[in-house]
């Protein structure tokens, strides 16, 4: 066996799940966790900005004039379910079941698309019917940029998972594809967690205030 440039003093990895089965995979997964820590600060800053500016409506629409319960609940449920199906894909991954893995990833992508569809529609409604745009007030700037950043992340995740599905279809469940599927799963769950904070800090406080 050739030496990896990465780590030499490896304990046996045979007892570990497939995504951890090589030292390089281990490195990348740790690296991704740390990346998520940075993402946490990024979203944290956006939340702080939003909360500071929430009341700065400058005579324009305020949160409670705008937010509707129905579409928001649908978005929330769809995204939570997609996180669940993403978790199911990880279970299939550990069973080395290529078909099951691909199936649940496809379901996850479709749910992601539904979420994005509702979100775009929500933004469109605010802009077209309520005249609430990015430039209406500081509150709306904060709202659109916080949710837009989350939405962009979800969209990127959709492209990413789609590319991964193609790779898994071509190569099967190998240590490399397994690692990629696992990492994209971490990313997806993270976005779900961010959404829960959005639901609380943006919508719930918006309705209550």
């Amino acid at each position: 066996m050739a030496q990896s440039p990465l780590r030499l003093h490896e304990k046996s990895r045979s007892s570990l799940p497939i995504e951890y089965s090589t030292p390089e995979n281990d490195l990348r997964i740790v690296g991704f966790w740390i990346f998520l820590a940075a993402e946490l600060v990024l979203f944290g800053t956006l939340f702080a900005t939003y909360l500071v500016l929430q009341s700065h409506t400058a005579g324009g629409p305020a949160p409670k004039d705008l937010f509707e319960v129905g579409p928001v609940m649908i978005e929330t449920i769809v995204l939570l379910v997609s996180s669940f199906t993403c978790g199911l894909s990880t279970i299939e991954l550990r069973r080395h079941n290529k078909k099951g893995l691909i199936f649940w990833l496809i379901v996850t992508v479709l749910l992601g698309l539904v979420f994005i569809g509702f979100e775009v529609n929500e933004f469109y409604t605010y802009a077209a019917h309520e005249g609430a745009t990015l430039s209406s007030s500081a509150f709306l700037s904060g709202f659109f940029v916080l949710l837009g950043t989350h939405g962009c992340h979800v969209s990127l995740g959709i492209i990413w998972i789609t590319g991964l599905i193609i790779q898994i279809a071509k190569r099967g469940v190998t240590p490399v594809t397994a690692r990629k599927a696992f990492i994209v799963g971490l990313y997806w769950h993270f976005l779900d967690v961010v959404w829960i904070f959005i639901y609380t800090a943006v919508y719930l406080t918006g309705w209550v205030m």
């Binding site: 440039p5 990465l6 409506t57 400058a58």
Partner: protein
């Protein structure tokens, strides 16, 4: 149509009307043509592409960082000399007020983001994997991407002064002045986009080095057996990871304000200019520790090596850096004590700032105790380290003076402040970078920098530094404020300013001697045939200079701190030549994607600066395509055979 295009070129695109800018245009054009001609003449394009531009080797990336940083230091230094020339005497007309604003903005931004940062990244790329006995960083491809993002971010920022006009809102870009209503034109966009691109690269480096240090240490090297420089980079990486995303957001929000009409930091429609100040300094204060802690690490290595003793108070050194990194996140408000906070808030930040002096002072004493009873060798690197201690302490003490909120109403935004932050930024990062360069140069290139020239440069630079900045403390207390483009006669400021300018040119001379020293030593410098020219203590000195592609032919096993110093006392190095059992080594392949992807970033960025969406879109598509291509690449490693390792080691005299 054609007329209006030409009008646009002459009146908005190219900066016109100033002879100095024409001079810059001409020298940029000449330098670019010169480089192309020389490389073509020597038939080196292929070599350049294969060996450097596409390299993922941490040692080469480190060297490229340092070359780029030296060039940027030259630009930032010229900016500084222009300001000092303008201020040498009262009522000068060398620069106009607008021009002066641009020059201090580009000077500050370049010195921090495009000089101090890349120098630090350069040194950590070169030294960290070697110090921990690793063959590369955790993510070599990402490492190359970080470098090229920094490089193209720097290029984008730098072209502003000939294409479109420079930013002029200061390196801190306070809103609302930096917003569109008061600052139309593309200058501020260059700042926002250029710094953003470089910042993404910095964040990636932080993640990369944290994983490298946590996961790739040689067997036996526990965290508390790591060299102190590696410790400093570990902690710095954590700071980067928690500070940079806030800056990413701040820059993005101001960009959205300016490009898409949002109201984050505007005065109109409920925006909050103070929010910018908070976000900026929430990153900005930790940023000064990002450029400072690594050089603390450099000084620790150098002082221990040239005192021929182990570092005094190792654990205390580590914990004081940890303390600095944590407290560093709760001091940001000291940058705007005077901007309308309550007394309670000011008191909190005043105290937290003053407290940071404690762990810093502890470190100073540890360095002094390391030298105590040591056999001190006054090499050039050691001189920089020794000079750091008193000069930096002056900056630290005046920092505590500034930290006292009520007194800060007097000092705020005066030349006292300018003197303070140059005392810490020059005696810290700049001295530390020169110190690290002289120390690790043989490891980077296989030859030594000439010590006599090095010492001359040191004395010229260090004395001039004091001539330049000491009078600023006084003139600041005499009432001269920061960012003034000229001043009347009869204020009592003239002699001080004149002396400062002399000092500034002296520092320029010191820099030129260093540049001369580099060129001279490249041609005639002494070879480092041993790999251990300083009788070093850490693992990087155990391998040949320059290090082979794979660094360590066999990975060392570590049992104590100062691993190499211990190894040298324990065993006969000759024996080791026999015992080495090589195995084939996996190494990552070179890749053109990092430079190409960063070039697309540059294109998209340039489009954003000018709001040319026809240019942004292809740039953005290019970035995404690069990512997809990379994701579909599976075969990205090659293997170095045993025979090749033997050949390399034999050539380096490591194998009989």
């Amino acid at each position: 149509m054609m007329d209006s295009f030409i009008h646009f070129l002459l009146h908005r695109f190219f900066v016109t009307g100033d002879p100095m800018i024409y001079g810059a245009d001409a020298s940029i054009a000449l330098a670019s043509i010169g480089i192309v001609v020389v490389v073509t003449y020597l038939k080196k394009w292929k070599w350049l592409w294969k060996e450097w531009l596409t390299s993922v080797d941490h040692k080469k990336i480190g060297i490229m960082y340092i070359i780029a940083a030296l060039l940027m230091l030259f630009r930032g230094g010229v900016d500084a000399l222009m300001m000092r020339t303008q201020l040498a005497l009262p009522n000068m007309h060398f620069l106009t007020s607008e021009h002066y604003n641009q020059v201090f903005t580009t000077h500050g931004t370049i010195m921090i983001i495009f000089v101090a940062m890349p120098f630090i990244f350069g040194l950590m790329n070169i030294a960290v994997p070697l110090q921990i006995g690793a063959r590369d960083v955790a993510f070599p491809f990402l490492n190359a991407l970080s470098f090229w993002l920094f490089f193209f971010g720097a290029m984008l920022f730098n072209i502003s002064f000939v294409i479109g006009g420079s930013p002029d809102a200061g390196w801190s870009s306070y809103a609302p002045y930096a917003e569109l209503s008061m600052n139309p034109g593309v200058g501020q966009n260059y700042y926002l986009v250029g710094v953003q691109i470089a910042g993404i690269g910095s964040l990636a480096s932080g993640i990369n080095f944290l994983v490298t240090i946590l996961k790739m240490r040689a067997p036996g090297m526990t965290l508390f057996k790591m060299p102190m420089f590696t410790w400093s980079i570990l902690i710095t990486s954590v700071i980067i990871i928690f500070a940079f995303p806030a800056f990413t957001v701040a820059l993005a929000l101001m960009s959205i304000d300016r490009l898409f009409g949002a109201h984050f930091f505007t005065i109109a429609s409920g925006g909050s200019p103070m929010l910018w100040a908070n976000l900026f300094w929430f990153w900005g204060h930790p940023e000064v520790y990002i450029v400072l802690l690594p050089v603390f690490g450099v000084f620790s290595e150098v002082i221990a090596t040239f005192s021929h003793k182990t570092l005094f108070g190792y654990a205390v050194m580590v914990w004081s850096m940890v303390a600095i990194s944590i407290i560093g996140f709760v001091t940001w408000l000291h940058h705007f004590f005077t901007m309308g906070n309550t007394a309670e808030v000011n008191a909190f930040f005043s105290i937290s700032t003053a407290i940071i002096a404690i762990p810093t002072g502890v470190k100073i004493f540890n360095w002094l105790f390391t030298m105590n009873k040591g056999r001190i060798e006054f090499s050039t690197a050691m001189l920089w380290a020794l000079a750091f201690i008193p000069n930096f302490t002056i900056g630290g003490v005046t920092g505590v003076m500034l930290a006292l909120a009520p007194a800060d109403y007097q000092y705020h935004n005066s030349y006292f402040l300018v003197a303070h932050f140059h005392s810490v930024l020059i005696a810290g990062p700049v001295f530390g970078i020169f110190c690290g360069l002289y120390y690790w140069w043989p490891k980077m290139f296989g030859y030594m920098l000439n010590e006599r020239q090095g010492k001359l440069a040191f004395w010229v630079f260090m004395i001039s530094f004091n001539i330049c900045f000491m009078p600023m403390y006084i003139v600041g207390l005499l009432g001269m404020t920061r960012r003034m483009y000229t001043y009347p006669a009869g204020m009592g400021w003239t002699p001080f300013n004149f002396i400062e300018t002399i000092g500034a040119f002296g520092m320029g001379a010191g820099f030129l001697i260093i540049a001369y020293n580099i060129v001279w030593s490249t041609l005639k410098g002494k070879r480092d045939t041993t790999g251990d020219p300083w009788n070093g203590r850490t693992l990087e000195w155990s391998i040949p200079s320059p290090a082979p592609e794979y660094n360590f032919a066999t990975i060392p096993t570590v049992s104590a701190r100062d691993a190499f110093a211990v190894a040298k006392t324990q065993e006969d190095q000759e024996n080791k030549k026999e015992r080495q059992l090589f195995q084939p080594i996996h190494m990552p392949n070179n890749s053109g994607i990092p430079i190409i992807m960063s070039l697309f970033m540059f294109i998209a960025g340039f489009g954003l600066v000018w709001e040319w969406y026809w240019m942004v879109i292809p740039g953005a598509i290019g970035i995404v395509v690069c990512m997809i291509v990379r994701s579909f690449q599976y075969n990205d490693h090659h293997i170095i055979s045993i025979e090749e390792i033997e050949r390399t080691e034999r050539a380096a005299g490591r194998l009989s």
